[in-house]
Symmetry: D2
Subunit: 292 residues, 4 copies
C-alpha cells in the first residue's frame, strides 16, 4: 500500500483539517460537541432508539402505499418513505407520479401517523415537496447540486442527505454544510454505498463511514442497505451490521409485491420479510444499548 | 481478471444492447449513421478541423477575460470558455460573478467574435444563461440532474455535456438521450476524467472513451485534459493523446496569471503556454488527416 | 445507476454461474452444502464460537511477542498472528526477522498454547513457514500468485487467504479453488478491505462480502478491520459490524507499544484496548446466537 | 472535487517526496537525469525509435509462433512476445506450455532475429525463463511479489515490469526500485490499464501515467493497449494516443487466428490488422519527431 507511514499521516491530517477548517464549520463536532437529535412529529432521529424508515421505491398507487404503511407501522417502522419524483437513468422510464404521489403519501400519514420522507429533485420543486413531506430527501445524484442544497437549506423541513455513490466523506460533509449554512440545522447523513470495481453488489456499502461521520460530526447518521447492496437477501445481515457500526437510523425498501414493482424490485423486501428483519435486528440494537 | 471469456462476452453484449435498446435511441449510430457536425456562429464541432475552446475556470473581471480572449484567438482557439456560475464544494468559496460574469463573456465575444461556452447549474437558470451563451455547459456534478438536462433539452443552444467523474459510458449516453429526447439535437460529449484510486492526477483521463463514443454515437466528442489531469505540465502531452485517439474538440483552462486565479490555478496554462501547446499539438492533428 | 434492471439481472446471473461453473467446484455450496469447520489445535474456525486471532503486524523481538501472546490469551483470543516475512512496498524498509521470527512465534505457542498464523510470501518458503506455523497466511498482494497458491494447496496446514485489495469476490473464490484443487480443503476466506476512491480509511471494508461468501461457499469467513480501516478508533465498531454481518472469525493487530511499532502502528490496538474491544463485541456475538 | 486547493497541494507534494525520498532512489530522475536506453540484441527501448513488441498471449504451438514472428517482423515489430507460463484465474484453464513454449520462442528468435519477451511467474523459475528469454516480463498480478522482483533484480536480463491493475504510480516505482536495488538497472515500466468502475473496457488505460513516469523516472515506458482495453477495435486509436502521450514502446497481442486463440482472442489483432495498425500509427510517431 503506497507509503503507509505517509498515508496514515495523511488520514489523521484530514481529520485535523476537518476539525479546524472554516469550510466544515456548522457540521463539525468542534462547533457542536453534543449529538443532534432531530424531532419529527412521531419520530426522533439521533436518539437512543434507532429510527427505521421503510416503504416503496416509487409511489405507484394508493392501495400499494396504504397497505405498505399499515404493515411497516405494525413491524415497528417510524417513518414512511416513497418516491413521487423519481430520477431515472433513462428518459423513457417511469418518472414517478409527481404531486399525485405526494398526495397519496400525505394520505397514508393521515391514517397511520407515520411522517413521510420523500425526494425533491430540483431547487424549483422544494416548496411543492415540502408542502406534503415531513422530511426532504436529497438523492445521491444530487449530492453536489448546489442550488438544490441551498433551497433545502432555506426550508424548515429536516433533510435526509444521501451520500453520492462517488462522494468522499469530506465532500459529503461539505454538502451538508451547504444546507446548514443556509439556515437548516436538521440534516441526516445517509450512507448508501459507493461505486467500486466489485460487481456482486449494486454498490459497496461503506460502513466505516458510520463511525467516522459520528466522530467528525454531531449530525445523525442513517444507513441504506437496500441501495447499497441491491440484493434482498443482504438487507438483514447488513442492517444488523449497520446497527452494530453505530447508525442512528435505517432506510429500507419494502413493497407488497416486489416482483411487480415499477422500480428496484430486486432489492425490495416483501412486507412479511420486513417484519422478520425487524425481529432479527432488534437484539443487535439491544446488545449495544439501544432500542429499535 | 475474473473470468475473461465471460467479461469479453459481456463487453460486446453491452455494445449490442446500446445498438438495439430503445433507451439509447437518438444518440446511437443506428439511429443516425453519419457524424453530427454542430455549427456555432464562427465554429464547427465534429468537422475535420479540431475545435479548441479555451479560457479561465472562473470569470473574475473584464480585463482578465478580454486579455485571455484576444490571446487565445491569436493562438487558434475557436471558442471562449469561462464560468459565471461556479459549482463549489465549499459553501464559503467564491461562487462566481453570476449574470455580471455572463455580460463580460458576451462583451468578449462581441470584440473577438469567439462564441462563448459557459455553465448552467440549475433548470431555473437555463434561460438566463442561454441569453448570453452560445453553448450551454452542463458540469460533471450535474450529469444526472434530470430537471436540468430536460430544460437544456428545450433550449435551442447546443450543449457541452461533461461526463461525471463517476459516470459509466452507458449512463453518459443515457444523459445525452435526455437532452435529445426533449428536442435539442446538438449535444457535445465531453470526457473529463473519472475518479479512481490513483492520486497523482486529479482524475484519470479515460481516453478510450473517445473512440468508444465515436463508435456508438454520431455526436461529436470533446476532451478536457485540464480537469482530467489537474496538472499544467500534462496538458500538452494529453492534448496530443486526445487528438490521436480521435477527439473532435479540446477544452483547455487558460489564465493570464494562473498563480492568482480564484480557482483551478494549478491546472491552468499561461497565455504563452497555450500558444506553445497549440503549436505542439497541430502536427499530431495533421498526422491523422485533420486540422486544428 | 446505468440500467438497473440489466444490472440486477447480471448480479443474479453471476450467482448462478458460480453455482454451476466447473471453475468454482470445490469452493461452492453446491459441492458441499454444510459449513466447513476448520479444527486447529486449540481453535475452531467456522463453528458457533467466533474465533479471534490477534498479535503484532511484525514480529520484532521475543519480549514483544510473549507479552502480546499472554495478554491476548487472557482477553479471549484463540490464535496468535504475527509476521516474520513481511512484504514491504519499499525495498529499504524492515523486511521481517525471517526464520528467527518464526522461532519466536513457536516459542509463544509453546508457552500459551495459542496456535500461530503467519504469512508465507513465496512458493519456495511454504515448507519453511509450515514447519513453525499452524495456519499459513497468504497476503493480499499474493492473491493471484498462482505458484504460491499451488504450493499452499499441497501443504497439510490450513490457510488464511486474504482477499486482494483489488480482487472481485469471483476472483477471490477462484483463488481459493486453486488451493483446494491441489489437495488442501482448509481455506479461510479473509475480507480485509478493497481499494476505492475514499481516502479517510486505508481501504474500504467491504462487509457485504461476508454474507455473500457465506452464501456462495461453505468455507469459513474471517474479517480484518485493522487492515481494512487502518485506524485504531474504528476497530471496535467495525469488529462489531463484522460479527453482526456474520463473520466466523476476526483478525486484529495488537501491539504492546503501537507508537514504537516497526510497521502499522497507527492501526494497532494497545493490549488494554484489545481487552476492552473483546468485552465490547461479545454482546453483539451473543445477540445473534454466537459466542466469542 | 473534495478540497481542490488541498488536493493540488498534495499532488505536487507527492512529486517532491518522490524526488527527495530515499525509497525512490535508483528509479528517479534526480539520481539519473538522462533517459535510460536499454539495448537488447536487435532492439533499443527508450531511444528515438519507438519499439514495438508483438505476438500471441499464449504460445500454443510452433506453427502459430513462427507464422506470427515472420509476419510481425515484416510489419516492423522489433520484439516477439508470447507466454509460456500463464497466470490463469481458474485453476482448470490452460496454464501454458512451460519450457516447451520457451523452446518454441527461442526457435522463432533464431529464425527471425527478434528478441523474445516472456513472463516469469515465480522466483524459482526466473533462471529457467532467463535461459531462453531476452527480456523477462513480470505480470500485473506479480507487481508486489517481492521475492520475484528480488530474483529478477539479480538477473542480467532486462525486465518489463507491468503495472498492477490496482497499483498507484508510487507503488509502481517502488516495485521498480526493488529490481534495481538488487542490481538490475534495465527496467521497462509498462502501463496496462487500471481497474475502475467502467465496464465498457477490460480496464481503464491510464495514459497520463506515460508523461508522469517519464518526468519522475529515467526508465523507458511501454504501453499495452491490448490488455488495457481488451477490445480489438480500440488497439489502433489507443496505440496512436499512447505514442502521442510519449511512450517509448508498445506491446500488442497478435494471433494468426484470434477466433481460435486459447486465451485473450477478443483483444488480439489478426496479422494483417497488425500490419495496418503499424501503418496507421507511424505518421503519429513522426509528427512528434520519432520513428517506428
Amino acid at each position: 500500500m503506497e507509503d503507509m507511514e505517509y498515508r496514515f499521516q495523511r488520514m489523521s491530517e484530514i481529520e485535523k483539517r476537518i476539525a479546524s477548517s472554516k469550510d466544515y464549520r456548522l457540521v463539525s463536532r468542534e462547533f457542536k460537541p453534543e449529538d443532534t437529535v432531530i424531532e419529527i412529529d412521531g419520530a426522533e432521529i439521533g436518539a437512543e432508539r434507532i429510527a427505521v424508515a421503510a416503504g416503496p421505491c416509487s409511489v405507484e398507487n394508493e392501495e400499494q402505499v396504504m397497505e405498505t404503511a399499515r404493515s411497516i407501522k405494525r413491524s415497528g417502522a417510524v417513518m414512511l418513505r416513497g418516491g413521487a419524483f423519481k430520477p431515472r437513468t433513462s428518459v423513457y422510464s417511469f418518472q414517478g407520479l409527481g404531486e399525485d404521489g405526494l398526495k397519496i403519501l400525505a394520505k397514508a400519514r393521515e391514517e397511520t401517523g407515520l411522517p413521510v420522507v420523500t425526494e425533491t429533485m430540483s431547487s424549483d420543486t422544494v416548496r411543492l415537496v415540502a408542502k406534503y413531506a415531513d422530511v426532504l430527501q436529497i438523492g445521491c445524484r444530487n449530492i453536489q447540486n448546489y442550488p438544490l442544497l441551498t433551497e433545502v437549506g432555506k426550508s424548515d423541513k429536516p433533510a435526509v442527505l444521501k451520500r453520492g455513490f462517488n462522494t468522499t466523506l469530506q465532500e459529503f460533509l461539505l454538502s451538508a454544510e451547504y444546507i446548514m449554512a443556509h439556515g437548516n440545522p436538521n440534516v441526516i447523513l445517509c450512507e448508501r454505498g459507493i461505486r467500486t470495481f466489485e460487481t456482486m453488489t449494486r454498490n459497496t456499502f461503506d460502513l466505516s463511514a458510520v463511525p467516522i461521520l459520528k466522530k467528525l460530526s454531531h449530525l445523525p447518521v442513517m444507513a441504506d442497505p437496500s441501495h447499497a447492496t441491491g440484493k434482498r437477501d443482504l438487507i438483514m445481515p447488513m442492517s444488523r451490521a449497520a446497527i452494530a457500526a453505530g447508525t442512528d437510523s435505517l432506510i429500507i425498501e419494502v413493497h407488497p409485491t416486489p416482483e411487480r414493482a415499477l422500480s428496484d424490485g430486486a432489492q425490495s423486501l416483501h412486507l412479511h420479510e420486513f417484519e422478520e428483519m425487524m425481529e432479527a435486528v432488534r437484539p443487535v440494537a439491544r446488545s449495544i444499548g439501544r432500542e429499535l
